[in-house]
C-alpha cells in the first residue's frame, strides 16, 4: 500500500500547484559529446508523445531505436533471455524491485541527471527502490474500465457490471493486476503469495470471465474504439487517448468502487545496455519540465514531474481530470503491485496460463 499512500500525499500537494503561473523556462540542452551515437528504447505501447523522440534525436544529434512491449512480464522475459541491446526500459514499481534483485538493472548516476530535482519529492525513494539507485519515475496511473457510453449511459461504478455485462468484454493482459482485483473480492491481500489464494483468485476470474472475448495485450482501447468490445479493462491514459483522438464522448474511463491497481512506471537502464551514458542523458531529458509536460499532454497519464505541473505547461484539462489525477480518497482505495518473489511469480504465471486455457472453454 506504500505507493498509494505516496500518491495521496502527492495529490494533496498538487492542489495549489495547479494554480501556479507559467514560469520562464530554459529549453533542455544536450551535453556535448554524444553526436552520432545510438540509443535504444524499449517502452510500453502508446506511451510517448509524437515529438519526444525526434526532439531528443535533434538536440543530441543521435539516432534512437524505439521498440514497444505490452506488459511488464513481456519486457522482463526479453531482458532475462539476454538484453537484445536496449538502453532504456520502463518497468512498473514491483518489476523494478524484481529486476534489481536479479541484477538486471544498472545503477543510475544521479550526477548525470540534474533534472531529478524536478521530480515530486514524495515520489522519490519509493519502497521498491528506496535510494533511487535503479529507477526514476516516468508516469503514474491506474487500471480501470474503459467503456462505451452508448452501452453504459449511466456509467460503470462496480466490477460486477463488468463481470455481468451481456456483451463482449476485453480484459487486460496484466496478470498481477487482474488476480489482485479477484483477491479484493475474496478478501485477500492483492499481492498474495499463498498458492491456495492465487488459485482461488484464478477460479474467481474464470467464473466471472464468461463474457471475455479477448485478454488484450495493452491494446484494449483499440478493440473498444473499433466497436469489437463494449468494455475494455485498460490503463487510464490509453482510454483517454482514444476519446481525445475521436474528439467525442463515445468512451469513458472509470475506476470501479471496489478498488483497482495504481502504478508508477519508471525509467531504468537494463543490464548489458550498450550505451548507459546516453540513457542517463535521456532520463534527464524526460525529466525536464517542458519535455515532461509535453509528454503528459499527449499520452494523458499523470506526471511525476513537479516542475511540469507548477510551470503550468500541463493542460488544465489534464490536471483537473479525475481520471488522470484521481482524488485522494479514491487513491486510498487502490493497491500497488509489489514484487512477490520468484516462487509466487511462478505460481501466478501458472495460474494465468490456466486462466487463458479455461476462459475460452
Amino acid at each position: 500500500m506504500k505507493e498509494s499512500l505516496l500518491l495521496i500525499l502527492v495529490m494533496l500537494l498538487l492542489a495549489p500547484a495547479a494554480l501556479a503561473q507559467d514560469m520562464a523556462h530554459e529549453p533542455w540542452t544536450c551535453p556535448e559529446g554524444y553526436e552520432g551515437q545510438t540509443l535504444s528504447i524499449f517502452n510500453w505501447s502508446t506511451y510517448i508523445a509524437e515529438d519526444t523522440v525526434p526532439n531528443f534525436e535533434e538536440a543530441c544529434g543521435v539516432t534512437v531505436n524505439y521498440d514497444i512491449y505490452e506488459s511488464n512480464e513481456a519486457m522482463l522475459a526479453r531482458i532475462r533471455q539476454g538484453n537484445p541491446g536496449y538502453d532504456i526500459v520502463v518497468p512498473s514499481g514491483g518489476t523494478v524491485q524484481r529486476m534489481a534483485e536479479e541484477m538486471l538493472l544498472i545503477p543510475l548516476d544521479l550526477e548525470m541527471i540534474p533534472n531529478v530535482a524536478n521530480v515530486i519529492p514524495d515520489l522519490l525513494g519509493a519502497a521498491y527502490d528506496p535510494e533511487n539507485e535503479y529507477s526514476l519515475p516516468y508516469q503514474w496511473g491506474t487500471v480501470g474500465v474503459g467503456y462505451s457510453t452508448e452501452v453504459f449511459p449511466d456509467g460503470i461504478t462496480s466490477w460486477h457490471q463488468v463481470w455481468e455485462h451481456d456483451g463482449p468484454v476485453a480484459w487486460l493482459d496484466d496478470r498481477q493486476t487482474m488476480l489482485g482485483i479477484a483477491h479484493l473480492f475474496l478478501g485477500n491481500d492483492p499481492n498474495s503469495t499463498d498458492p491456495d489464494e492465487i488459485n482461488a483468485a484464478r477460479d474467481y476470474l474464470i467464473e466471472k470471465g464468461g463474457n471475455v472475448v479477448t485478454v488484450a495485450a495493452d491494446d484494449g482501447q483499440v478493440l473498444l474504439e473499433r466497436g469489437d468490445v463494449d468494455i475494455a479493462i485498460e490503463y487510464n491514459g490509453d482510454i483517454l487517448q482514444i476519446s481525445w483522438d475521436c474528439e467525442c464522448d463515445d468512451y469513458a474511463y472509470a475506476i470501479p468502487e471496489e478498488g483497482s491497481n495504481v502504478w508508477i512506471d519508471n525509467l531504468s537502464i537494463p543490464v548489458d545496455a550498450p550505451n548507459p551514458e546516453l540513457a542517463m542523458v535521456f532520463i534527464d531529458y524526460i525529466l525536464d519540465a517542458k519535455v515532461g509536460a509535453d509528454l503528459t499532454n499527449y499520452i494523458w497519464y499523470a506526471s511525476p514531474n513537479q516542475a511540469s505541473i507548477e510551470s503550468g505547461y500541463i493542460d488544465e484539462e489534464i490536471l483537473n481530470d479525475p481520471a488522470i489525477f484521481p482524488p485522494p480518497e479514491q487513491v486510498a482505495n487502490l493497491f500497488a503491485i509489489i514484487d512477490v518473489g520468484a516462487e509466487a511469480e511462478e505460481l501466478i504465471n501458472n495460474a494465468w496460463d490456466e486462466l487463458l486455457i479455461f476462459l475460452g472453454q
Binding site: I48, T52, P84, G85, V222
Partner: protein
Amino acid sequence: MRQSLINEGAMGRNLVIRRLGGIGLWLNPLFAYFFLWAPILILVLFSFNNSRSVASFTGFTLTWYSNILNNMMGAESAFSTEIMLNAFRNSLFVGTVATAISTVLGTMIALAMARGRFRGKPLLDGLLFLPVVIPEITQAISLAIFFKVVFDWVALMSGERIFPGFHTIIAAHVTFNISYVAIVVRARLADMDPQLEEAANDLGANPWQAFWRVTFPLILPGVISGALLAFTLSLDDFVITFFTSGVGTSTLPVFVYGLLKLTVTPEVNAISTIMMVLSTILIGISLAIQGRTASRA
C-alpha cells in the same frame, strides 16, 4: 445403349447427379474466387472511404494516403512514415542477403544430390525436407534459444556480449530458404540430361568449365525461380523474424504486426493497399524475368 436398357433408373439418377455436379462445378469456383478476392478488394475499397467506418462505404477520399505521407498516423509516434520506410529497407536488406546466401547453398546441395555419388542421400533428403514441414513457431523458438545459448557462452568466454540483429535474422532466413531453393533447382536438374555434361567432359572441358559453360546456363531458370521464391518468403516472414530480431532491425512484417495491433485508423488499410500494389509489381517483374530466362534457355 445396352446399359440404358438394363438400368434406366440408374441412368436417370446419373443425369441428375451430373446436372447438379455441373452446376456445382461452376458455383464452387465462383464462391472460391469470391472468397479469395473479396477480403482484399474490400480492404482496398475502404482505404478510399471518407469515414473511419468499415461497415459502409460513404464516399471517396485520398485523406488516408496523404496522412501516411505527412506522418499523421494517430497516437503512436513509434509508427511514423520514417520508421515504416526504415523497416522496408531492413526487409529488402535481409531479403537480399538471405536470398544470395541461400541460393548459393541451396543450388550447391541440389547439384550434389543430383550428380554426386555419396552415401546417406536419403538422410540428406530428410534434412532438406524438415525445415519445410516443421511448424514456424518451433523453428522460431529453437533459433531464439540457440542464439541465447551461443551468445551467453561467448559472453562467458570473452566477456563481450553479442546482440541479435541482422546477422541473426539473416541466419534464420537462410535456414528456412535453403530447402525451397534446393527443391526448385532439383526439379530443374531432374529435367536436364546429364549426358550434356558428359559430352562437355568428353570434349575436354574440365569439370569447372563444364559446370559454368553447360550446367549452369541450363539450370539458371531454376536458380532464378528458387531465388525469387526465397526472396518472397523472406519478405513475408513474420514469426521467425519476430523471435530472432534485435534492436532497430525490425522488418516490414514486424512493423506491420505492431501497426495492426495498435491502430484502428484507415491509414492501415491504405498502407496495406500500397503493400499489395508493391508486391504485385514485384511479381510482375519476377514473372517477366522468369519468362525471359525460360524462353532463352
